[in-house]
């Protein structure tokens, strides 16, 4: 471990390095130069005066937000002697497992290519490009033949991989003992218990107002809601990322949500961002990737059939197709245990890299953002901060392995009878809750509840709340679950989550359950 002084210097050095080439840096320089014309800037105290000017004009705040964003996203620097793969993932066996998983996906993609004789990537002919450009806003009307495409992998395949994850240095004996875990996950990661979770999620406590509970019809708005909205407007006026992140822990008013999320994720719709999106769009038009067909199929099967999300089908294509070509997403691979596979365009020596990912959760965001470029940026930022951890094997506390273990541990500790019963009937609880967690509950909860949940993910900068919610859902339906006698029946009990209210469940599970 680094001792505090050198750790701090390294962090500062790293943040400066990252911000140095950014557009914020050039904007600050420009502002500083422009300010030289102002009368209050004197030559004797140039530096101080410019600093004051930047403070009063709000630029210092923007810089603070950028620094805060960097601190949130990138992990703390590890030891200088540590090689880069150690920063991605400190445990060697997890790196290896992630590597084999990626190879498997790639092999599956490649074999699909060969079977269907479609290249992984190819340049589109000019006529097709024109056609796509015309249809850009209504790609949903297209009905290409996708019957031959099959999904590269399903959540249960990924769950199988996670179940078979073993630490070679761990006592993985055949005999069940105090060392083996009763659930499906057998790696000894550190997960929090309820007292620690209570402390971490303190703002969800019983005596603190929450949107999702204290804004219901029976509660007069003067008690909490009005004040909360007022505070939210103030936070937006201040444009302070850190304050916004603290604020959303109690939930976001619907009217303010889009702006607050953009503030927390430090997204400003600069002209260069719009330009970047247009560039990605032109990449989509010029080149056809195999992944595109997979995306089409996935969207057609899921969002288009969904009662809430079908209206956004066109948006989803626009965002996902661009996302699959966005190489800046690759930056996050320095702190993700994954390594992106490369694909080559047939006939060209150029390398076009793309990330193979499990189609992420764009649809709920469509409720909030209407311009494609802003929608795209929000989605991309959420992916590189949070959702990528749901698709890769790592030991991070918000990684899917830790979430699964946290879920199983919480259930075992606080509902031991239920856990034992389900295990006996062959319905390991994780088999049911895995698909919820891996999609961050998108598609399972009602949209307003989902957005309240994602408020907390942003507010606490962690995905652990997904595991807590999964355990809370089981706790809520415990009585029914104790009576089932098969996995299918258990799944039927938990099939429909659309009527659940997220915040009361979380509060009861964390703060009101007698242990």
């Amino acid at each position: 471990m680094l001792d505090p002084d050198s750790g701090l210097s390294l962090t500062i050095a790293r943040i400066v390095q990252r911000l140095k080439g950014s557009s914020l840096h050039s904007q600050l320089e420009r502002q500083a130069r422009v300010s030289l014309h102002k009368p209050e800037i004197k030559l004797e105290s140039l530096k101080e005066d410019i600093k004051d000017f930047l403070k009063t004009s709000g630029w210092e705040k923007k810089l603070q937000n950028a620094v805060y964003s960097e601190l949130n996203v990138f992990p703390s620097p590890c030891h200088p002697a540590a090689p880069p793969e150690h920063m991605k993932e400190p445990l060697a066996y997890m790196r290896k497992a992630q590597g084999s998983w990626e190879k498997r996906i790639l092999k599956s993609l490649n074999s699909m290519c060969t079977e269907l004789s479609i290249p992984l990537a190819q340049k589109r002919p000019v006529s097709e490009q024109k056609e796509l450009l015309n249809k850009w806003n209504e790609m949903g009307t297209d009905e290409p033949d996708l019957s031959l495409f099959r999904p590269v992998y399903a959540p249960k395949d990924f769950l199988e991989v996670l179940m078979n994850l073993r630490n070679p240095n761990y006592e993985n004996g055949e005999q069940p003992s105090f060392r083996s875990h009763l659930g499906l996950i057998q790696v000894p990661l550190k997960v929090k218990d309820i007292p620690e979770l209570k402390e971490d999620f303190g703002e969800l406590g019983l005596n603190i107002g929450q949107l999702g509970i204290d804004d219901s019809a029976q509660v007069p708005p003067e008690f909490f809601e009005n004040e909360h909205v007022r505070v939210g407007q103030k936070v937006l006026a201040e444009q302070d990322s850190a304050a916004a992140q603290q604020y959303v822990r109690q939930g976001c008013p619907t009217a303010l949500r889009a702006d607050l999320w953009a503030l927390i994720l430090n997204i400003s719709n600069q002209p260069e961002d719009i330009l970047y999106y247009e560039q990605l769009k032109s990449n989509v038009i010029q080149h056809d990737l195999l992944v595109d067909s997979l995306i089409y199929k996935d969207v057609k099967l899921t969002a288009s059939n969904d009662d809430y999300y079908f209206v956004f089908e066109d948006y989803l294509y626009q965002v996902l197709l661009c996302f699959s070509r966005d190489t800046s997403v690759l930056e996050h691979f320095t702190y993700s245990s994954a390594t992106p596979p490369k694909s080559y365009i047939r006939g060209k020596l150029g390398m076009e890299e793309y990330a193979v990912f499990y189609p992420p959760n764009v649809a709920p965001l469509c409720f909030l953002y209407h311009e494609p470029s802003k929608l795209y940026q929000i989605f991309r930022e959420m992916y590189v901060r949070f959702f990528f951890r749901l698709h890769s094997i790592s030991s991070h506390p918000s990684g899917i392995v830790s979430l699964c273990l946290l879920f199983e541990t919480l259930l075992q500790t606080h509902l031991p009878q239920l856990f034992y019963h389900l295990r006996e009937i062959g319905a390991q609880p994780l088999r049911i809750s895995f698909k919820w967690m891996v999609r961050a509950f998108s598609g399972y909860l009602a949209t307003d509840q989902l957005l309240l949940l994602w408020d907390r993910i942003l507010g606490y900068n962690s995905l652990e709340i997904l595991a807590v919610l999964a355990a809370a859902v089981f706790a809520f339906r415990a009585v029914n679950l104790m009576e089932v006698t098969s996995l299918a029946a258990a799944e039927a009990v938990l099939a429909d989550l659309s009527t659940l209210k997220v915040m009361p469940l979380l509060q009861i599970f964390l703060f009101a359950t007698v242990t």
């Binding site: 471990m1 001792d3 200088p80 002697a81 150690h86 070679p168 240095n169 006592e171 550190k190």
Partner: protein, 247 residues
Amino acid sequence: MPVRVAVPVRGGGLPVRGLRPPVPQVQEIVFRNFYTAFLSVRVQRPGPSGSRRWVTCLRDYCLMPCPHTEEGSQDYFSLRRHQMLCDVDQVTAVRFILRQPSPVWLHFTIEELQIFPPGQKSPQKDFPSWLSQLTPPEQPASLHGELPDPEKVSTEVQQMWVLTEVIRARQAAARIGRFDVSPAILLVGAPASPHFWRSPPGGGCSRRDGVGVWGGLSRQSDGAAQGPTVALFQVDGCYDINLLSYT
């Protein structure tokens, strides 16, 4: 750099080497953990009357906050002078005591051990050079006519030369200052366990409730005039400790 592999001496003490000239101070110890929970470090220094005594310079330093889980299990650590309990000047031998109270791990050890004397920066620790360019206007441009200090330059060049010589002389593809500590010790577990006295060939410590002792890294004199930067160590011996028993 020659490394001598010591044969474990069961139940016995530590073979003591002859007196050696004192080595300069230890500035930093860097290593990679492999499932060791607590580390203690003892150094041997010349005492007041010329005899040498063992002094504990680090006691039960926690590497894994929760020994049953993976936290910290494969991380890199740095131990610096100012963290030590005692003065680490004139060190002739260093002893690492590894503890892993949790029985769930099969092996535990520390790897990639490097000991740095002062004056030599640990290899990757320098910050990017542009960091020093961050506040150029404030530095007066005073180096225009001045030449750098020749004494300093020559010491640095000497250090670099010695390091390159050492690299060339070594056969293993290891970095400067890396000391291969092989099989040392072992560990002990519940006497009822059939693996109680086993000392693994690959080095490090195995099995339960272990206490592993790496006997001595002691400096070997090899006559050559060495600059202040390079110190050679060799593994001295190892011994078993039976501290815990479940019977």
